[in-house]
Every structure is written in structure tokens, then in C-alpha cells.
């Protein structure tokens, strides 16, 4: 079993930026060649707040020997945020892990430094000596940057050595961004002091300055020369292309990997390694145009005799090596092979050179070389070779140069096209992932979306872990290995473990990005993603996942709060229902003694009280009987039922001789006002009010269910309709109410009921119905009234597995004398 592979952590401020990208790619190449894992760790620059803020910087302190064996720090990107002292402390905190710093010299840390002073000196001397400029302006970097300070001092020192005086009004400063370069340029122009060259401490500020000069109708390089520092990729493509100082970023990356690997192997490494920089002359200083002009072949060159090509191989190799920046050891001897191929072509192997050159271009493109730089190689050789070749070779060479330029052109177009396709594919992936992640409002759905989207972006390993209450522990949220989601069984682990062991276990070399997951200024957790996708994806993906996590968490919170509120509401409703049921049952009459009537009644409130009502008010010559049902459920229905009960009780006592229609009319007027105006409700009630006289005469009014009268003589039920109107629906119902009446004879049964009886539904959604009720009454008519009542109730329960409405029944048997009936 192979031993554990070494893993190098690389610390930078963010993934974005040419500098970070180029160094990372160089490290990646070197690590790949040495079979070493790489963990690229970035924070998050807070664009909304101060540019000095670095949200999620805690990510750097999460690294330790648990996951990495050595660290490379892109110090120039971090001192801007935490200062040299802060970075020094951070590096010390990693002890005993080997650390290598790129860009800034840190005490006790092997540091790889570009020669900032030499770079600035060469560009300033170029402007003064080659272009004869005498009024320079300078845009420096941020005050807390060591590199910026070194460049500023070198600028002033070079002016002094050249005897050029400088005006303090022609010194401005920015923060290394293009925007700050533009601001600084406006300041310089506003002073009104004439200048003929602008040197910026980095390329981005120079690009910002170029834009402002254009806006002020100042031509570069005709009116003003401009130069930057770093040679970021956009410096080649801007208009005019930018003269700059090239940092050997790819070389730095390779050196850094070797430095930490030697430390891991307990080998000594130098504390300080300086890497040379070089001037890249382009259009912004005028050299781009001059090169084209001066390197054109001349007649005298073509006819001259000079040393053979084979005698100048070493010299020419050195020259063309300087023109093209090739990063890797893989192409280390490309100039020699290039010239060897050319010699074979000229020596009688037609087609050899172009074939080899095509392969070289392909290999160079794979190494990230800007292919257009080979045009300068052709220009240089075209200028040099006529002096070394026989005259009859000139025509052959011209054809070769022409074909070579066409090859470079088509390879460049292909490379651009491939890059564009990659970027477009990445944009499409991001658009889709953004849409899906933004609508994944639950944690399981979010995991599902991650599991589906990441592999489609060629991200085959991923881990999302969330911070608990503190930053010391992480809880796994999502883990994917080799394109498949893996279930994690750990509840949590120390933060420095970063992710489940499964993420880091692989026979293949791994390269990953470790990023903080944040939302605004809150640290949510960490995100680990394997490399393999277009690098422009990662930063946006991190934002999308961070926002999605926050949205899902907020959604869960809302759902939980809603559920809690619903529980409270349901409990409140249950209490209301219990109260309403108590109201109904408490107010049901306890005394049912009425002369001439055997009465049995009951009310069974439903789980959600239905507002049923019945009452019996004995009078000397009979009684008032009432039954009703408030349309609606719950406490409001119960309260309205209580109002009805109170009013009927008062009216029955106050007006024992009053007719049911008259009493209902009076009740309605008061009830309508209470319900509609005072309670602001829209309930109404069915209500039948019956005046029973002991001689068997019954006068009634109102609108409710039918009154059932089971005749003793026919033994059949009669259904007597209650053709009135509801109460509490209209303010005045007197004109709509009429008293109706029927006569009871000895042994007749009267059954009053509410719709809870007849509308009870069985499992097939069939109604219990009035007919079934009548049949039951007829079957049980010879039994006692309470037996009839109980049989009806039992039948209803047997019919309906669950009752959704109150069930109210009143069964009365008339036991009147013949005299009384007469």
C-alpha cells in the first residue's frame, strides 16, 4: 500500500486575480509532476465593506498537520489585509509545518522574492534613456504593502541616479486596483503639472490610468508613455498593450513547491531567494510599434554573408527564450529544439519545421503560454537569419515565416475559441446551478441539487460542513466522493479535520479548493471542492452555496415558527372548542318535567363545537320547547348559541302567552344587532320555537329541520316542515314568520333533531338521512323515550366513524287525557 501522499496548502486572499491564478497553476503543474496533493485556501474579499476587510479569514487558522504537510503563502495577496506582522504571526502559528512565502520576506520563513527594485529600475531607465523622457509621474501602491514601498523607493532612486528631478505633485497612490489607478490619474491631471510618462506600481493601476488618459484625449504613447508592473494577462490584450515588468510567476510557483518539499524532507533551504524580473516592451511605451518596424528584413541583410545558423544556435536560443514566457520544465529546451527543427528544414527535410512547430504550439498552449508571443520569435528570427543564410535561402525562409505566422494565428484562434467555449460552458453551468440552488429551500433538496450539479461541472469531490455554535467544530452537511454522494455518520468533528476522511482518501492525486462559506459577514462553514472545473466557477459557486444554505436555514426557521404558531393556534382553538362545548352542555336544561310530556334529550358536541341548542321551559299550561343550530363552528357559534338561549329563556318567562312567531321576531331583532353589529360576524341560526299546551296543541314558528311526529295510531312518522326563516340573518323577519300548529294525541312521539343526526356521513360518504331516522323512531316507538333517544344516538355512531357536527336530540311522548285533548 503506498504511503500517504504529501499535501501542500496554498494560502491566498481569493481565487480571483491573474496573480493568484498564474501562481496557482504553476504550483499545480509542479505538484502534479511531483505527485503531491494541493489544497488551495482562499478567504473572501468583502467588496461591500472596506477593501481591507477579509471575510472568512478564520479559514486560514483551520489548517494544521491534520490535513497539510506544508504551506505556501502568497504573501503579497495577504499583507494587504493583515499586514506583515499579522501574516508573520499566522505563519508562526503553523509551526512546525514547513512554510514558504512568495512575494514578501517574512522572518524565519523561507521567502521567494522578485527583485522589485531591479524591476522598477529597468522600466524607469527604459523610459528615461530609450525614450528620453524627463517629466515622469508615479502611481504607487498601498502604504502597508512592502512590495509597493520597494517599488516606490526604487523609482525615486533611479530618477536621482539619472539626474531627473521629480515633482511631489506627480506622485500619487492607489490600492493596486484599476479603479484606484483611475482616481490617482485624475489627481495627477488635476494638479496641472506637465508629465510625459506614467509609471504605475502594478498593471491594474496602469490600466485604470490608461482609461483616464483616453478620456482626456491624451494619446498613449504619442503624448504620454505608460508602464505597469507584474505582466498580468490582460496587459497583453489592452489597447495599447501595456509595457510592464514581468514577474516570473510560474517560476515562483515551481520554486515554492520545491522549497517546501525540501523542508518536508528535512533539507536546508535558503531563507531568501531572489528571482529576476524582466522588462516586457509593448505599445504603451512605443516599443511595440518600433519592433515591428525595425525588425523588418532589409536588402543588405539578405545579401550579406554571415556565420551559419548552426554557429549561432546558442545566441539565438537565448534571445527567443526571452521573448516567450514558458512556465514548465517540460518545455525547458524548446528554443534549441525549435532551431534544430529549422536547421533540418533548411538542410533538406521539407515540412519538418512546420510539423514540429505545430506540436510546439500545442504543447505551449497546454502550458498556458500566450501563443501570440511566438509572433515576436518569428519577427526576431526573420530579422536575424538573413545575415546568417545564403541568399538562395531567403525565399525559402520567407515562405516558412509566412506559414509559421499562419500557424500561430490559427492556433491562437483555436486557443481563444477553446477558452471561450470553456467560459461559456461555465457560465451556463453557473446559471443553472444558481437557479436550482436558489430554489432549493430545504436542506435535503439542497443536498440533492449539489449531488446533481457538481459532477456536471466536473467537480467530483465536494464537502460542505457547517459551523456549530462556535468555530471550533464542524458538522458535515454534504459529502461527495468520485461523483457520488456519500452518507456521513459523524455528528461533528474538530474544525481542523475540515471534512470526513473519505474526502481525502484517494489513490489518485488530489487538488482541491478550500473556501469559507459565508453570508454577509457571518461565517456559515467551509466548502471543499476538487479541482477540474473551469476555475472561474469556484468563487461564484461558493457564493451560490452560501446563499442557498442561508435561504434554506431561513426557510426552515420560518417553517418551524409557522408550525409553532399553528400549534399555539390549534391549542387555542381546542381551548375555545372545549369552552364552547362547556357552554352548550352546561346550559342544557337539567329539568325536563313538563305536564303531559315524557321528555328525554341530549346534546353531544362535536370535536369542533357546532353551536347546537335545545331548551325546555315548563309553564303552568305546558312549555316552550326550542331547538336550533348556529351556522358555523367554534367559540363564536357557542357564544351566539348562549345569546339565543338567554333570549328564549327571558322571552318565555316574560311572555308565556306570546306566540312563537312573535317571540322569534323579537329575538331576531336583538340577536341580529348583537351578531352583525357588535360582534361584526355573519353567523345566523336555524331555530324552531314550539309552544306546547298540555292539551296536546303545539304552535310553532321558525326555520329548522323537520319536526318528526310518530303517530301512535298509524305507528308512522309525519314530517312537519318548519317553513320560516333563520334568525340573525336579516334585521327584521316579522313579516316572514307565521305560526303553524299540529295536535298531539295520547302516545304520539315528537322528535326534534339537528343536522348532526341526519347529515352524519358513513365511510362511503352516504348520509344518515331523515328516512333512516324515521324508521328508527317507528321501530322503537313502544319503548321509553330515553331508549328511543339512545337507539338513535347508537345508530348514528354506528353509521358515522367520526362525527363532525354536534348531535342533538329531543324525544317527547305525549300522555294527554281525552278531556284535555278535547
Amino acid at each position: 500500500m503506498p504511503g500517504k501522499r504529501i499535501c501542500i496548502g496554498i494560502l491566498a486572499n481569493s481565487l480571483a486575480g491573474d496573480y493568484q491564478s498564474e501562481v496557482r497553476l504553476a504550483i499545480e503543474r509542479a505538484a502534479s509532476e511531483r505527485d503531491v496533493d494541493v489544497l488551495f485556501v482562499s478567504g473572501q474579499q468583502n467588496a461591500a465593506a472596506s477593501s481591507l476587510a477579509l471575510v472568512g479569514s478564520a479559514i486560514y487558522s483551520m489548517l494544521g498537520p491534520e490535513r497539510v504537510d506544508a504551506l505556501i503563502v502568497l504573501s503579497g495577496t495577504l499583507t494587504h489585509y493583515m499586514g506583515v506582522d499579522g501574516l508573520e504571526r499566522l505563519c508562526q502559528s503553523y509551526a512546525p509545518l514547513p512554510v514558504c512565502s512568495i512575494g514578501v520576506e517574512l522572518p524565519g520563513v523561507p521567502s521567494l522574492l522578485v527583485d522589485n527594485a531591479a524591476g522598477m529600475e529597468v522600466v524607469v531607465r527604459h523610459m528615461l534613456e530609450v525614450h528620453q523622457r524627463r517629466a515622469p509621474a508615479y502611481i504607487g501602491g498601498p502604504l502597508n504593502s512592502d512590495e509597493a514601498e520597494l517599488r516606490r523607493v526604487a523609482y525615486l532612486k533611479t530618477l536621482g541616479q539619472a539626474g531627473v528631478s521629480w515633482d511631489p505633485r506627480l506622485l500619487a497612490a492607489g490600492d493596486f486596483s484599476a479603479e484606484s489607478g483611475a482616481v490617482a490619474m485624475r489627481e495627477l491631471l488635476a494638479h496641472g503639472v506637465a508629465f510625459d510618462v506614467v509609471v504605475a506600481a502594478n498593471d491594474y493601476m496602469a490600466l485604470g490610468a490608461l482609461e483616464v488618459l483616453k478620456q482626456h484625449q491624451l494619446s498613449v504613447p504619442r503624448d504620454v508613455l505608460v508602464a505597469g508592473f507584474d505582466d498580468v494577462s490582460v496587459a497583453r490584450f489592452c489597447n495599447p498593450s501595456l509595457t510592464t515588468v514581468r514577474q516570473p510567476l510560474k517560476r515562483l510557483g515551481t520554486l515554492a513547491v520545491d522549497t517546501v518539499l525540501r523542508q518536508v524532507a528535512n533539507q536546508r533551504v535558503p531563507n531568501r531567494t531572489a528571482v529576476a524580473v524582466e522588462l516586457v516592451r509593448r505599445e504603451s511605451c512605443g516599443c511595440g510599434y518600433q519592433l515591428t518596424r525595425t525588425w523588418a528584413p532589409t536588402a543588405s541583410d539578405a545579401s550579406g554573408r554571415a556565420p551559419a545558423l548552426s554557429e549561432r544556435l546558442g545566441e539565438l536560443s537565448q534571445q527567443i527564450r526571452k521573448v516567450v514566457a514558458v512556465p514548465s520544465d517540460v518545455l525547458q529546451d524548446w528554443p534549441e529544439r525549435f532551431l534544430d527543427s529549422l536547421m533540418h528544414e533548411l538542410g533538406g527535410e521539407p515540412g519538418r519545421f512546420l510539423q514540429d512547430f505545430e506540436h510546439l504550439l500545442e504543447a505551449a498552449q497546454n502550458e498556458g503560454v500566450a501563443l501570440d508571443e511566438f509572433q515576436q520569435v518569428i519577427t526576431l528570427l526573420r530579422s536575424e537569419l538573413p545575415r546568417t543564410s545564403a541568399a538562395d535561402s531567403t525565399a525559402v525562409l520567407e515562405r516558412i515565416w509566412h506559414a509559421a505566422r499562419l500557424l500561430i494565428g490559427s492556433a491562437s484562434v483555436r486557443a481563444q475559441g477553446r477558452r471561450r467555449l470553456d467560459v461559456e460552458a461555465a457560465a451556463l453551468h453557473l446559471a443553472r446551478s444558481g437557479e436550482r440552488l436558489s430554489t432549493a429551500l430545504s436542506m435535503p433538496l439542497l443536498r440533492q441539487v449539489l449531488g446533481e450539479e457538481l459532477p456536471s461541472m466536473n467537480i467530483m469531490r465536494a464537502a460542505v460542513a457547517l459551523h456549530d455554535a462556535d468555530l471550533a467544530t464542524l458538522k458535515p452537511f454534504f459529502l461527495m466522493v468520485d461523483g457520488r454522494e456519500v452518507e456521513t455518520h459523524t455528528a461533528g468533528y474538530p474544525t481542523r479535520k475540515l471534512a470526513d476522511e473519505a474526502y481525502f482518501t484517494s489513490e489518485q492525486r488530489q487538488s482541491s479548493f478550500l473556501m469559507p462559506l459565508t453570508f454577509e459577514d457571518k461565517q456559515l462553514g467551509i466548502l471543499l471542492l476538487s479541482a477540474g472545473a473551469n476555475e472561474t466557477l469556484y468563487e461564484t459557486l461558493r457564493h451560490q452555496i452560501g446563499s442557498a444554505l442561508k435561504s434554506a436555514a431561513l426557510h426552515r426557521e420560518v417553517v418551524q415558527q409557522t408550525a409553532a404558531r399553528e400549534r399555539v393556534e390549534q391549542e387555542s382553538l381546542r381551548q375555545e372548542t372545549r369552552m364552547a362545548a362547556r357552554l352548550q352542555t352546561t346550559l342544557a336544561p337539567s329539568e325536563l318535567r313538563v305536564a303531559g310530556l315524557e321528555i328525554s334529550a341530549l346534546m353531544e358536541p362535536a370535536s369542533e363545537s357546532g353551536g347546537d341548542y335545545y331548551d325546555v321551559f315548563p309553564l303552568p299550561d305546558g312549555a316552550f320547547l326550542a331547538m336550533g343550530d348556529v351556522a358555523g363552528h367554534g367559540l363564536a357559534a357557542g357564544i351566539i348559541m348562549v345569546m339565543i338561549q338567554s333570549m328564549v329563556a327571558l322571552l318565555a318567562r316574560e311572555s308565556p302567552a306570546g306566540s312563537p312567531a312573535e317571540l322569534l321576531s323579537r329575538l331576531n331583532a336583538a340577536l341580529f344587532d348583537n351578531v352583525r353589529h357588535r360582534l361584526q360576524r355573519d353567523e345566523h341560526a336555524t331555530l324552531v320555537l314550539m309552544r306546547y299546551f298540555s292539551n296536546g296543541r303545539v304552535v310553532f314558528a321558525g326555520a329548522h329541520e323537520d319536526i318528526l311526529v310518530c303517530r301512535a295510531d298509524s305507528r308512522r312518522c309525519e314530517r312537519i316542515a318548519t317553513d320560516g326563516v333563520w334568525v340573525a340573518a336579516l334585521p327584521e323577519i316579522e313579516s316572514m314568520l307565521v305560526d303553524a300548529e299540529f295536535q298531539l294525541r295520547d302516545g304520539d312521539l315528537v322528535v326534534l333533531f339537528t343536522d348532526g343526526v341526519t347529515e352524519a356521513l358513513n365511510v362511503h360518504s352516504s348520509l344518515f338521512g331523515v328516512e333512516r331516522l324515521c324508521s328508527l323512531v317507528e321501530q322503537a316507538q313502544d319503548t321509553a323515550v330515553h331508549v328511543i333517544r339512545d337507539r338513535i344516538l347508537a345508530a348514528v355512531h354506528a353509521w358515522a366513524p367520526q362525527l363532525h357536527d354536534d348531535v342533538t336530540l329531543l324525544v317527547a311522548r305525549y300522555r294527554g287525557s281525552a278531556d284535555a285533548e278535547a
Binding site: D629, A631, G632, H633, D682, E683, H684, T686, A703, D706, A721, D723, G724, V725, W726, A729, L730, I733, M736, D755, E759, L761, S765, L767, V770, H804, D805
Partner: protein, 123 residues
């Protein structure tokens, strides 16, 4: 063009049809507690349609209705009462089944309370 949509629940269906200034609503199923809210919403939409399309006649065909509980009846009454207040020329009729006498009896109070505009017939 009418904005009125059919309502189709498990045991309750409402199918409106607008023809020449009149609307017929065919109702079927069980008007129990489960349908109270959607039924009330439907009637609110029907009232809006009457207002916007100047409908002069609405017929509810309730012959295939097996149940209209008190809450559904309340919704119908509220609807009828609003129509009475806002569209006094709009006539509402209920077509009931002759074999389902309870339908006419249940709707009777509404007819008596909005006598000028509500009629009940059996077929």
C-alpha cells in the same frame, strides 16, 4: 370572456356556464365542511362575474347535490343577500330535484328572505 372557473374537488363539483347574459351553475356532490371555503370563494368570483358582465340571471342546478350543510347554506345566503344589495335586477333561481325534497326545504329560508330575487323550482 368569463373569468369564472370550474371547481372540482373530490366530492364536490361546480360547473359554471355563461350564455347570453345568464349564468348556470351545475352543482353536484356533498356540500360538507370540506368544501365550505372553496365554495365561498367560488361564489365570490361568481358575484364579481355578475358585476363585471352585467349578468341578469343566475341559475343554480342543485339536483345532483346530496348535501348542503348549514355553512354552505350560509354561503349561498350571503351571496344572495349581496346580489340583492348590489344587483337588484339580477334573478337567482334554484333548480331542485322533485325526488329530493330536502333540497327545496333547505333552500326555502333563503327564498323567503330574498323573496324578490330568489325562486325555487323542482324538476
Amino acid at each position: 370572456m368569463s373569468n369564472l372557473q370550474s371547481l372540482s374537488l373530490d366530492t364536490w363539483r361546480l360547473e359554471p356556464e355563461v350564455v347570453a347574459g345568464a349564468i348556470t351553475v351545475r352543482m353536484s356532490g356533498l356540500g360538507d365542511m370540506a368544501v365550505v371555503k372553496p365554495f365561498a370563494d367560488f361564489l365570490a368570483g361568481l358575484k364579481d362575474e355578475i358585476s363585471s358582465a352585467d349578468i341578469q340571471r343566475v341559475e343554480f342546478d342543485v339536483r345532483n347535490v346530496q348535501l348542503l350543510n348549514s355553512s354552505c347554506l350560509k354561503s349561498i345566503f350571503n351571496f344572495a343577500f349581496r346580489i340583492k344589495a348590489e344587483h337588484p335586477s339580477c334573478q337567482m333561481s334554484f333548480l331542485t330535484s322533485a325526488s329530493q325534497a330536502w333540497q327545496a326545504r333547505a333552500l326555502g329560508p333563503i327564498q323567503r328572505m330574498v323573496r324578490e330575487q330568489v325562486t325555487i323550482s323542482a324538476a
